[in-house]
């Protein structure tokens, strides 16, 4: 733990240096042949939780996330993201992303490593940066540590963007290990079966409607539930508006499981989140709301033992009191497995420390 904290802090100190040098001696900003460059961020948050749900309450230290982009050459880049998450008696250190990427062109970039799976807009837009996202926490269908959608993906990826006057089309296609024996994990130390997972995602952004994004993805895997495994096919779609005062994010995911002995089942989930940055003197405030639902098939061979139906209504307000820090207050009313509806109140401070800017 101490080593990790030292690494994150040392990285931040190293990355702060180029900005200072460039300011005092502009010529030093010139790239030196073969000299890698590095830029990094530190994300942090503290949350206060009062809830009738039970479990951990009070002040939660949240995640400390260190992210770094190292440009090793004109076309070769390494992206890394490490997190330290508070647990009852310790901190859990996790390599969230580690990606080595070669950029051939805007339309073709090849990479390998550990990713956030491109099966969800939220998963690839906000990663572990709570400062970036409007709400206190992720939707349940793409919750960190959750099992519904595979959050992480270990493998290789081909991606790119085609741009034109009409708009842009972004794609990503990958092959990797798929889910591990603990199905919330990504099989970091190798595939647990001989069946590789594949993922393909596509998104379009029309230039005439700057802010609108529409996309979807298809993910195939065989979940290692027993000696044979359970076939898994995930189909997702999203519509977002992420430019200007309004923010709208809507995602839907349907997951089909084909057990060798039994019928195919489909579980699905969605959320719709809407927020608006207030005009005039109140522009630092952004009220928001979200409705989310997850419906687990009762005989789902993969999910039924671990997951239950879930529904939540969320309302909150985000206050960007400083450019790099925010406070959020959020009320949440949740129902799990058709049980009693429980209320929770969250207060969160989230920040980002960039090495430059």
């Amino acid at each position: 733990m101490r080593r990790c904290m030292r690494f994150i802090l040392a990285s931040m100190l190293i990355t702060s240096a180029p900005g200072v040098a460039a300011q005092e001696h502009p010529a030093e900003a010139l790239p030196q042949e073969g000299t890698p460059t590095f830029q990094g961020f530190l994300f942090g948050d503290v949350t206060y939780l009062a809830s009738k749900r039970g479990g951990s309450q009070g002040f939660l230290a949240g995640q400390l996330v260190g992210h770094g982009n190292a440009r090793l050459s004109d076309r070769l880049t390494f992206f890394g993201e490490l997190s330290a998450s508070a647990r009852e008696n310790t901190y859990l250190i996790e390599v969230e992303r580690a990606i080595l990427r070669y950029d051939f062109a805007d339309e073709l970039k090849l990479s390998a490593g550990r990713y956030h799976t491109p099966v969800s807009y939220w998963n690839t837009a906000y990663h572990h940066g709570l400062w970036l996202q409007t709400s206190v926490a992720r939707p349940e269908i793409i919750r960190i540590g959750g099992t519904f959608l595979p959050v992480h993906f270990v493998g290789a990826m081909m991606e790119g963007t085609f741009s034109s006057r009409v708009g842009s089309l972004t794609y990503a296609a990958g092959a990797g290990n798929g889910r591990g024996t603990i199905i919330s994990r990504a099989g970091d130390a190798g595939d647990v079966n001989s069946n590789r997972a594949t993922v393909f995602s596509v998104g379009v952004r029309p230039r005439a409607l700057s802010g609108l994004g529409i996309g979807g993805s298809l993910y195939n895997d065989r979940v290692p539930m027993d000696s044979v495994g359970v076939g898994e096919r995930i189909l997702t779609g999203h519509v977002v508006w992420d430019h200007g005062a309004p923010e709208i994010i809507a995602e839907y995911a349907a997951i089909r499981h084909d057990a060798p002995a039994g019928d195919a089942t489909t579980s699905d989930g969605f959320y719709v989140q809407a927020g608006v940055r207030l005009p005039g003197a109140l522009w630092r405030l952004k009220p928001y709301g979200r409705f989310e639902n997850m419906d687990i098939a009762t005989d789902d061979a993969v999910f039924a033992p671990n997951l239950a139906d879930y529904e939540a209504v969320i309302g909150g307000v985000r206050w960007d009191f400083e450019a790099l820090a925010t406070l959020k207050a959020e009320f949440r009313r949740e129902q799990s497995a058709g049980g009693e509806r429980l209320n929770s109140l969250y207060f969160q401070a989230a920040l980002v420390v960039p090495s430059t800017h």
């Binding site: 460039a22 900003a29 961020f41 880049t77 062109a105 450019a323």
Partner: protein
């Protein structure tokens, strides 16, 4: 005539044209300047937005684009944020943090702290692109047309209001 000779003549003509335009008009225009080896001479406004937002990171010849952005506070930065990015300073900062965090780009734009610095670096870094007050453009610099218009043209889109 060799290519460098042609470029020198064009740059000289551009500077003469600048002198012929009333100071009140040209002082408020912001020129888009690129490294001398960049082959492009004209970009559409859409393409310019894609380049400045790092949606296009390579020139058509395959070389990487290096974006140089003037630090606040400067007239030309305000024009670029208002017209190209359509963002406030806070939104601009958040935009680049998100871009880097999402691994869309390996690095953010290089920040330059003076007009002189921008002028020096844009001719020193292959593939570089930056923006300057049109008065600060010197002979030999490669200025891009936007949708066919130069900063001296009335329909040029990058102008302080």
């Amino acid at each position: 005539m060799r290519k460098t000779g042609k470029a020198a003549v064009l740059a000289g003509l551009f500077c003469m044209a600048l002198l012929a335009v009333p100071r009140s008009v040209r002082a408020q225009a912001v020129a888009i300047v690129v490294h001398p080896n960049v082959k492009a001479t004209n970009v559409s406004f859409d393409e310019l937005q894609r380049i400045f937002k790092a949606e296009q990171q390579f020139w058509p010849d395959g070389s990487r684009i290096t974006l140089l952005v003037r630090a606040p506070v400067a007239m030309e930065r305000n024009v670029v944020l208002n017209r190209i990015y359509r963002m406030s300073e806070d939104q601009f900062r958040q935009f680049w943090i998100a871009k880097m965090f999402r691994a869309d780009v390996a690095a953010g734009p290089k920040i330059v702290y003076s007009t002189e610095s921008a002028r020096d670096l844009v001719v020193a870094i292959p593939g570089a692109i930056t923006f300057l007050p049109v008065d600060a453009v010197t002979p030999g610099m490669r200025v891009l047309r936007i949708d066919g218009a130069l900063p001296t043209d009335a329909r040029y889109p990058l102008r302080a209001r």
